[in-house]
């Protein structure tokens, strides 16, 4: 006779080993949970390996004011998050928060930017955060080598950046140190819920857990319905130009341009339809390069060493989806574009809620996918 009670292997199974899934697993492990992290293989399309590494606040929240507050909360927690990773792994993820700029290359662009910020800040219920329109003189005090066409821009002291590849590595190192069971090449094919327990089917084996977190990026769209949730996604493609390493000259990240801790300049922020990661659109790359050179003419003298494309994890309205299943209690969905910016929130706050078994409606209720329902 078989034993009646099925053995539950893990308290929580997290599906997706990118920045979102690893940050959540880290938080769950810190809360004392037995965690298994199920990941795809090396060839997976991974936003965690193709992103711009900004920890960014300005502009966030137009259309969903709660997103501004949630983002600022993460920006403020990031310093402690980076320090914790350093102490657990010895790895410095290169977090800096010197404040970031948007640059305008004409008066018309500056006017559009001012209007955008006004609309953002005029929303009812929005938290106060300082983003100010600044003139050329103010820019010159902070940025060296500005092109003559730069007329002004906007500045937010809460903006920063990090080394996101090292962040991914630090999280996985911390998970390893804490005894989290990481299973690569375990793409989850099916999820079944029975009597308070989840069975996850992969090509290799079946795993059982008391709770699950779907953090599978754009693939969450297929997985969420298996546990009575929805994840309406609309992924898009971004392109990046990377220059050779040079001595530090850019002290602040610009939304489309930043110098990494290791010296390369990254130029990016294009948004294109299509989700083929092998695609690269040269006209877009040249427009990006031309704008970057108008902002900082010195860039024209640098060698480009790489250009690449990445697929953004993007929900249909661009805001995070945090949800819990009504029909399969214990199933959670965490899906968002800003896996770097929100990593601190995910590790500290969202993981605690999942560990306790309930998303806190006051802090993250606005991010339920119920917002997509027709009312």
């Amino acid at each position: 006779m078989k034993p009646q009670a099925a053995r539950t292997d893990f308290d929580v199974a997290v599906i997706g080993g990118g920045l979102v899934g690893s940050a959540l697993s880290f938080g769950l492990a810190r809360a004392g949970r037995r965690v298994v992290l199920l990941d795809e293989g090396d060839a997976a399309v991974r936003a965690s390996r193709a992103n711009f590494a900004l920890v960014w606040v300005q502009s966030k929240g137009l259309g969903l004011p709660a997103y501004a507050g949630w983002t600022i909360c993460s920006s403020n927690a990031w310093g402690e998050f980076a320090a914790l990773l350093k102490s657990e792994t010895g790895l410095d993820v290169g977090f800096e928060r010197p404040g970031g700029f948007h640059l305008a290359l004409s008066e018309a662009e500056l006017e559009r930017r001012a209007l955008q910020l006004k609309r953002l800040h005029n929303q009812p219920g929005i938290v106060k955060y300082e983003t100010e329109i600044v003139d050329r003189k103010r820019l010159e005090a902070s940025l060296l080598g500005l092109g003559r066409e730069v007329v002004g821009g906007s500045f937010c002291p809460l903006d920063g950046h990090c080394n996101s590849l090292r962040l991914h590595r630090a999280l996985h190192t911390a998970l390893f140190n804490r005894g989290v069971c990481y299973l690569a090449s375990h793409r989850v094919e099916d999820i079944a819920y029975h009597a308070g327990e989840f069975a996850l089917r992969t090509a290799q084996r079946e795993l059982r857990a008391g709770k699950i977190v779907i953090a599978a990026g754009n693939a969450s769209m297929q997985l969420a319905p298996l546990v009575g949730l929805v994840a309406p996604m609309r992924p898009n493609r971004g392109q990046i130009i990377v220059t050779e390493r040079v001595q530090p000259f850019l002290r602040h990240p610009i939304v489309t341009l930043r110098q990494t801790d290791e010296g390369t300049i990254m130029i990016g922020d294009s948004q294109l339809d299509g989700i083929d990661p092998d695609e690269l659109t040269m006209p877009v790359v040249s427009v990006m390069a031309a704008r970057a050179i108008r902002m900082f003419p010195v860039l024209a003298r640098l060698n480009v060493v790489r250009t690449w494309s990445g697929i953004r994890v993007m929900t249909q309205d661009g805001f995070p989806i945090y949800d819990q299943s009504e029909t399969c209690p214990g199933a959670f969905l965490v899906c968002c574009h800003s896996g770097v910016t929100l990593a601190a929130n995910h590790a500290f706050f969202l993981a605690s809620m999942i560990s306790r078994g309930r998303l806190d409606a006051d802090s993250v209720g606005a991010f339920s996918a119920r917002r997509f329902d027709v009312r």
Partner: protein
């Protein structure tokens, strides 16, 4: 470590390495001159500061980077010598301004 073959022609090209005068042969690559001059390395890496020397000699490995006439990160194995050329060993990252 590297010995030159007998000269086929009698001309020479004057250049400098870190301010020191060097005679090279027409057709030499800068990397060949560095090696013939007995240098054991030409740069330090931009992240860890480890020493590097010319390696592949055919433009692939990017280990032979030096500063030539004020421009950093030049692949010395792909640059033929020119009269009066100023070569400097590169320490870490190049400067953004040429």
């Amino acid at each position: 470590m590297f010995a030159r073959l007998a000269a086929v022609e009698d001309t020479s090209v004057s250049l400098s390495i870190d301010g020191k005068h060097i005679e090279a042969r027409p057709g030499d690559s800068v990397a060949a001159v560095l090696l013939a001059a007995g240098l054991r390395h030409c740069r330090t890496t931009s992240v860890s500061g480890a020493w590097r020397a010319p390696y592949c000699m055919m433009g692939v490995c990017f280990d032979c980077l030096v500063n030539i006439d004020g421009v950093g990160n030049r692949q010395s194995c792909l640059v033929p010598v020119r009269e009066g050329m100023r070569i400097e060993l590169q320490h870490g990252k190049r400067a953004p301004v040429a």
